[in-house]
């Protein structure tokens, strides 16, 4: 009986984690542009001097 309750809590917690992840992704604009990131990942990283696009903030 209490095991079921524990499982219930655990399953809702896990699902809730995914919900929070989804909300964060939607909030941070990851669904705004579905095209450019798919191109970006195809670019080679052979940058001279090992520079990368500098991270800001």
């Amino acid at each position: 009986m209490s095991v079921v309750l524990l499982l219930l809590l655990a399953s809702v917690l896990v699902a809730g984690g995914f919900l929070v992840a989804f909300l964060w992704a939607a909030r941070s604009g990851q669904y705004d542009d579905m095209v450019t990131p798919s191109m970006r990942m195809l670019f080679d990283d052979d940058k001279p001097g090992g520079e990368t696009n500098k991270k800001i903030q």
């Binding site: 219930l8 809702v12 705004d32 191109m39 970006r40 520079e51 696009n53 500098k54």
Partner: protein, 807 residues
């Protein structure tokens, strides 16, 4: 005409356009112009030639840059309005770059920091054609960045509209969140209800079953308060305006589902219908998401500010300064160069004005003006630089008055009630009648079950499947249309299109190609040598007619043009190979005192350029608009179904041609001002007609807004289009009859889907009025009805599209 076929037709390594003259070769690659080559040099110098690897010839031919054009970007106030963020050292700006089109563009623009160390970070959003750029203010200025981009061929579009509103689009994440919450609750509640589904007499351990029920109830609360809030809000708004929309029965149904379920659970009667409730909301929101996910990257709300530049050159004495045009006051002196826009109504002070008003009036031939003449905002100067004195502020100008036209505000465009809403009205009457009937019946027979039956009726009557039909039919259609280069502002536009009976066209730029003219020669035949001489002369001038001539004639001869002179409003002259050649108006090419020989008279009201060699008039070139390919066929198809009309800003010189194209029944109106066009559409509405207006420029903007559906025709969807309901790329104009046919058939599909969902409602009502609606029945019926309506709508729409040859 003999064309020199030995010309090499190598494609430019940078931009892919054919190399004609000025071909330069470097590193074994050919370039069409010096601009393309300099971009190549710049990139290969910075070891950025990877740009040329992702795509073939990805570049954009850079426009000739005039120094000082971007000087206004040094103005602190302008910067303040343009920057998203400006700190002590760093600043961030969002730029709109319409030229970007491929993976290579993305790569180059995101590697700008390798060209300029002051650029800290740049990120591209290709569907939005946007670049977000963070830079170090100490090392590089905004102006330098814009100039670098211009040099690369990616000139940002900085217009007056950018000052008022920074591009920010993050509107629909809330809908994602609402759907996510509903989906989360739906899945978990289904899981909790599983034991209830399986055992016929409930779970033996009452404590456990109560725990599951309470957990379900807790999960359902955010769905009620957050996810479905919009439906309640919309139903309330509708009721307050004394109209009943489809959201009223929906809100009633889902509200009843929740109340009944919580009552059942708290009173310990049963598990309630919370799985149905959350599932219903989830499906409804999915439908909304499907409908809302449209072409938000396209701007359908543009007005004149998206077209006007931010600044212009102001003259004070001898000093020239660049000022924002919003700061122009009457009495200011301004300088407008070739191909620049006149920013405010003004009087010509100095220079020869040759103003192209095609954007304002639709008239495609430049108007020649002399000092003292009035120049209206929105005209484009072609020819030499002119001095103007501003007489009205930018916001008071003639063009802008079109937007503040009181008639537009007073004359609301006819609103079409949507199919869903008009059915919803009857639907709710039916539901309430059934509920009342059931109440009376059970009141006499078994009053203990009265509440149970009435709530059951309200629950199954919830027209959720009905509400899903329109979004999925119209949303699917909008996607298919988008693939065919017809973008609609909202899928609802497609339903409106199914009801139009009249189509009104603008001529210039809509039926004709804006950037092409055909040239025919009349008179004494020219030798191929003479043609080359004429071409050599025409190449010297930037006048639109000269440019067209230079393109059509064979390649010019090698010898240079001497004594070149351009007299604005008259023509050009020069000596080529010791021959005196003149191009221009008749009186100009004849020259003084020379004999009038071999008179050739062009038709009245046509656009011509005469040519003379050594003082002898040989003939004239006649320029005509080029109609878009297949316009005849398209019009014939449309004419069979709709009434056609033409509104042209041009003179009536092409009346006969237009009549042949549009058919003898079509109404043709010429020399229509923007206001005339608006009035014409309004008159049609007063006669009860539903009008589709197709136009291209700002001169059609009033008419586009007044029409039932206004569609802008553009060469490229990312370029300027006035405020409208849809943007149709010119290449797809020929598919218009098929788009309209699909819109009409789409309506049939919606009605069929309504029928399907009604069957489910009737079956459910059968259970409900007999008092047998168990949670299990509801949990099975509800998803089946939603999913089958969604599948039917999507598949039927695709089939219709395939039949019309649109996918």
């Amino acid at each position: 005409m003999t064309v020199n076929t030995t010309q090499q037709k190598t494609a430019c390594f940078h931009c892919g356009q054919p190399c004609l003259q000025d071909t330069t070769v470097q590193d074994g690659n050919s370039f069409c112009c010096a601009g393309c080559r300099s971009v190549y040099q710049l990139l290969s110098g910075a070891r950025l030639s990877q740009y040329y690897q992702a795509e073939q010839a990805p570049g954009v031919r850079p426009a000739a840059d005039r120094t000082g054009r971007h000087a206004y970007l040094d103005d602190a106030q302008v910067q303040d309005q343009l920057l998203d963020y400006a700190g002590e050292a760093r600043a961030r700006i969002t730029l709109s770059i319409p030229q970007m089109h491929c993976a290579s563009c993305v790569w180059l623009l995101e590697n700008l920091y390798r060209l300029e160390s002051g650029v800290l970070r740049s990120e591209v959003s290709l569907p939005d054609r946007r670049l977000v750029l963070t830079f170090d203010k100490q090392r590089i200025s905004l102006r330098q960045i814009v100039e670098l981009l211009t040099r690369l061929g990616y000139e940002p579009e900085i217009k007056l509209a950018n000052l008022d509103r920074k591009p920010e689009r993050r509107t629909n994440w809330r809908l994602y969140a609402r759907t996510g919450v509903a989906g989360f609750s739906f899945a978990n509640i289904m899981l909790f209800s599983f034991p209830e589904y399986l055992s016929s007499d409930g779970i033996q351990e009452t404590g456990l079953s109560l725990t599951f029920r309470i957990a379900s109830l807790i999960l359902a609360i955010p769905v009620l308060l957050y996810s479905s809030a919009d439906y309640f809000r919309s139903a309330l708004t509708g009721l307050r305006q004394r109209t009943i929309n489809l959201d009223v029965p929906i809100a009633l149904g889902i509200g009843m589902l929740f109340l009944r379920s919580s009552f059942d659970i708290i009173a310990g009667i049963g598990p309630g219908y919370l799985d149905s409730f959350t599932g219903l909301v989830f499906f409804l929101l999915l439908g909304r998401l499907f409908q809302q996910k449209t072409f938000d990257r396209l701007s359908f709300d543009r007005d004149y500010r998206a077209y006007f530049p931010i600044s212009c050159v102001k003259r004070a004495g001898d000093a020239e300064s660049t000022v924002p045009i919003t700061q122009l006051r009457p009495g200011d002196r301004i300088l407008v160069r070739n191909q620049e826009l006149v920013p405010a109504d003004a009087v010509l002070i100095n220079g020869q004005g040759s103003i192209d008003y095609s954007f304002v009036t639709g008239e495609s031939h430049p108007k020649e003006l002399i000092s003292g003449d009035r120049v209206y905002a929105g005209g484009r100067q072609t020819g030499e630089a002119i001095d103007l004195e501003v007489i009205r502020e930018v916001s008071d100008s003639y063009l802008i008055s079109l937007w503040q036209d009181s008639r537009l505000a007073a004359h609301n465009r006819p609103s079409l009630t949507t199919l869903a809403n008009s059915i919803g009205k009857h639907f709710i009457a039916l539901v309430l009648a059934t509920a009342a009937g059931a109440a009376v019946y059970w009141g006499f027979h078994d009053s203990t079950r009265l509440a149970h039956v009435v709530t059951s009726v309200l629950i199954v009557a919830c027209p959720c499947a009905l509400a899903l039909a329109s979004p999925f039919v119209l949303g699917t259609a909008a996607r298919i249309w988008g693939d065919q280069r017809f973008f609609v502002r909202t899928p609802q536009v497609i339903e409106n299109l199914s009801q139009i009976d009249t189509i009104v066209f603008d001529k210039t730029g809509t039926l004709t190609q804006a950037d092409r003219q055909s040239v025919t020669y009349e008179g004494v035949p020219l030798t191929s040598y003479q043609k080359k001489c004429v071409a050599a002369l025409a190449r010297q001038s930037t006048h639109p007619s000269s440019r067209v001539l230079a393109q059509t004639l064979p390649a010019s001869i090698e010898s240079a043009v001497t004594d070149f002179a351009e007299i604005p409003g008259k023509g050009i002259s020069g000596t080529v190979d010791s021959r005196q050649i003149r191009l221009g108006s008749r009186s100009w090419v004849q020259g003084e005192g020379s004999a009038v020989d071999d008179p050739v008279t062009p038709p009245v009201d046509s656009s011509v350029t005469f040519v003379s060699v050594d003082g002898r008039v040989l003939g004239y070139y006649r320029f005509e608009n080029v109609y878009r390919e297949g316009v005849h066929v398209t019009m014939a198809e449309l004419g069979a179904e709709y009434r056609l009309a033409l509104l042209s800003g041009d003179g009536s010189r092409e009346r006969e041609r237009m009549s042949a194209i549009l058919g003898s029944n079509a109404e043709l109106s010429f020399q229509q001002s923007p206001h005339d066009k608006l009035d014409y559409i309004s008159r049609l509405h007063d006669r009860g007609r539903q009008v589709l207006m197709l136009g291209d420029g700002l001169n059609d903007a009033g008419a586009l807004r007044a029409a039932t559906v206004g569609v802008a025709v553009t060469e490229d969807s990312s370029s300027f289009a006035p405020a409208c309901d849809g943007i149709l790329e010119a290449s797809s104009l020929g598919s218009l009859p098929r788009f309209l046919a699909m819109a009409r058939r789409g309506r049939t599909v919606i009605i069929a889907a309504f029928g399907l969902s009604l069957i489910y409602n009737i079956v459910g009502l059968g259970f409900a009025v007999s008092g047998k609606l168990s949670p299990l029945v509801s949990a099975v019926l509800m998803p089946i009805s939603s999913v089958s309506v969604v599948l039917f709508s999507t598949i039927a729409t695709r089939l219709v599209a395939r039949r019309e040859g649109l996918c």
